[in-house]
């Protein structure tokens, strides 16, 4: 951290010195090494990717907000008569039942990942953060689902959940349950079934992130706590957990974003319908796959955008704070 401070301080004077030349003539000479060509080149190195980022990500993000105030169907050009003000939002709020279903499911998705899958991942990390034989093998196994696409995860779990052919119902039938549940088909339980699949993958992800954090904790803190007579659990709860606050933030951010992005599993199971409505699937189903209600779908996208700004801003604030230190 101190090194970073030393690095940035003279440097900040660096390029600005080019402009405020009179103040620091020596620095200016130093930086005049950057030729005109270099400056253009640097501009291009940043400018081209920045241009693409603005056109293909931020442009559409802003366009979503604008389109959400219209009832554009995408067939003819956008005209003044398409403007409906807050009409789409009113409809979402009051007369479109799947929207609230979607909100509820995204919230549940977040709660299950955050309060069940994430703690399990942290717990695995704590268990594996010690000198023990086979630690690597366990890590490899727990992390394995993370390298799979969520679409594959959905399919693999379809093989487990299938009423006729799946592993789970075969076992249940073995125990004498003649008509075991249709896990992915029954709208009252399929969200939970999908969450088991999503958690199977999320646990390993959190485990790896957290394990890296645990390894970076200064060992002398643990030694000090041990000298003070704290046992492992106490050391973790009173010292390690708090030292790892930056990682904890990352984990909350990562988990929230995973929950907001949830799409693939629901889509591969049943296109995100019939108990698996999510904000993400409602957007694509309304505006691309089936209907062409661009304005209406964009209003859902804006809701999703607004919610996701919370974890995004949290994360950016953290980066900026660290940058300043």
């Amino acid at each position: 951290m101190t090194q970073a401070r030393e690095d940035t301080a003279p440097d900040r004077a660096g390029l600005t010195a080019g402009r405020a030349g009179a103040v620091a003539p020596r620095r200016r000479r130093h930086y005049s090494v950057l030729t005109r060509r270099d400056k253009i080149l640097l501009g291009l190195m940043v400018g081209i990717p920045l241009f693409l980022d603005l056109i293909f990500i931020w442009g559409p993000a802003i366009a979503s907000v604008i389109l959400s105030f219209t009832q554009w169907n995408g067939i003819h050009g956008l005209t003044a008569t398409d403007w409906v003000g807050l009409g789409n939002y009113e409809k979402l709020w009051s007369s479109y039942a799947p929207f609230w279903e979607g909100v509820k499911h995204n919230v549940l998705w977040f709660l299950v990942l955050m309060f069940i899958a994430t703690p399990i991942g942290m717990f695995f990390a704590i268990l594996l953060d010690r000198e023990m034989r086979g630690s690597r093998i366990y890590q490899t196994i727990f992390y394995m689902p993370v390298v799979l696409s969520l679409a594959i995860v959905g399919l693999i779990w379809q093989l487990q959940y299938s009423q006729d052919n799946g592993m789970i119902d075969s076992i249940l039938r073995g125990f004498g349950w003649s008509t075991p549940p249709d896990w992915f088909g029954d709208p009252s339980i399929n969200l939970w079934a999908a969450l088991v699949a999503a958690s199977w993958r999320h646990v390993g992800y959190i485990m790896v992130l957290y394990l890296a954090g645990l390894k970076s904790v200064d060992p002398s803190l643990r030694e000090a706590a041990a000298i003070d007579g704290a046992n492992g659990t106490q050391t973790y709860l009173h010292v390690v957990f708090w030292v790892m606050m930056p990682i904890n933030t990352v984990i909350v951010v990562v988990t929230s974003i995973e929950a907001l992005r949830a799409f693939d599993i629901a889509y591969i199971i049943n296109h995100g319908k019939n108990g698996l409505e999510l904000l993400s699937t409602l957007i694509t189903n309304n505006s691309i796959s089936e209907a062409s209600l661009i304005g209406f779908g964009s209003a859902i996208a804006v809701v999703l955008l607004t919610i996701s700004l919370v974890p995004i801003v949290t994360f950016l604030t953290r980066i900026m704070r660290e940058e300043r230190e």
Partner: protein, 299 residues
């Protein structure tokens, strides 16, 4: 040795530690089995014939083990075509993303501009957005952008390989910029300055000094990005309409419909699609972990 020096009072805690160890191993092993079970079941299902499972049920010992389902899935699903599509997106995708990201990271960490922080934030935030937030306007944009014949059948960016390649590059650049700028900050500034004093162009400094030093980070990112792009389901699902043109992961959407009646084939197909990332993971596990760690702890 230890037994002779151990006093009775010491023996007790050691014994409890040993029991703790055993409990730990039992728990972790049980969890590992639980974690592997879905994968094992998928492989097991894929190795059995439809006739066998029809008669005996899925939860039974196999009458015969066969690789036939893999051949059938491969030919009936015409998977080779989709794997080639994947390669056409993944290989240039990873290379171009890393090049662009390293340029940006180089420019914002080695030179101070007024907007450095802003640029970094823009890229990072863009990568964190849920893709669905931008998909509707992006889809319209793709339908509107003209692309000449060899690259597009319909004259637009929609339903083209380069369209999907492009959005991957733009989207993934954000993550790579973040990781690489964290990494480059740890490299001494003097390297750049010495290069400039010696009269090297910024291009030379980026290419011949900074990039070689970033090799560990680039290797880790290349591994991660390979799986990120390979595993993409969403972009290609919505930006490519023709099933033949979809990369393998998105093609699962059609294949699932095709194989729905035959779970052995569906299992074989899932295993085939899962194999490349699992192999890369097992071979390059260190790179994976390092990539994720660089993205989280040094931020």
């Amino acid at each position: 040795m230890t037994a002779t020096t151990m006093t009775p009072s010491e023996a007790k805690p050691r014994k409890s530690i040993r029991w703790g160890r055993i409990a730990l191993y039992v728990f972790l092993t049980a969890m590992s089995v639980l974690w592997l079970l879905p994968l094992v079941w998928a492989v097991y299902t894929s190795l059995r014939t439809f006739g066998d499972t029809e008669v005996n049920g899925y939860f039974s010992l196999p009458a015969a083990v066969t690789l036939q389902n893999f051949f059938d899935a491969w030919t009936q699903g015409d998977l080779l075509r989709n794997y080639i599509q994947t390669l056409e997106i993944v290989i240039p995708g990873v290379i171009i993303t890393l090049l662009l990201a390293s340029m940006i990271a180089f420019a914002v960490t080695k030179f101070s501009w007024r907007f450095n922080m802003g640029i970094l934030m823009l890229f990072v935030a863009g990568n964190l957005l849920p893709q669905q937030v931008i998909i509707v306007p992006l889809y319209r944009l793709y339908l509107a952008l003209p692309v000449p014949a060899p690259f597009s059948d319909n004259g637009t960016l929609y339903d083209t390989t380069i369209g999907v390649l492009l959005i991957h590059i733009v989207f993934q650049t954000g993550f790579c910029v973040f990781v690489l700028s964290n990494y480059m900050k740890t490299l001494s500034k003097e390297l750049t300055e010495a290069g400039l004093v010696d009269g090297a162009s910024v291009f030379r400094i980026w290419w011949s000094i900074i990039l070689p030093l970033c090799r560990p980070a680039l290797a880790a990112l290349a591994t991660l990005e390979f799986t990120f792009i390979y595993n993409d389901f969403f972009w290609a699902l919505l930006l490519i309409k023709t099933g033949d043109k979809r990369p393998i992961t998105s093609a699962l959407n059609n294949l699932q419909g095709e194989f729905f009646t035959n779970y052995n084939l569906l299992a074989a197909c899932s295993v085939l699609v899962a194999i490349p990332t699992i192999v890369v993971y097992i071979l390059l596990q260190k790179q994976f972990i390092r990539g994720l760690t660089l993205g989280s702890t040094k931020g």
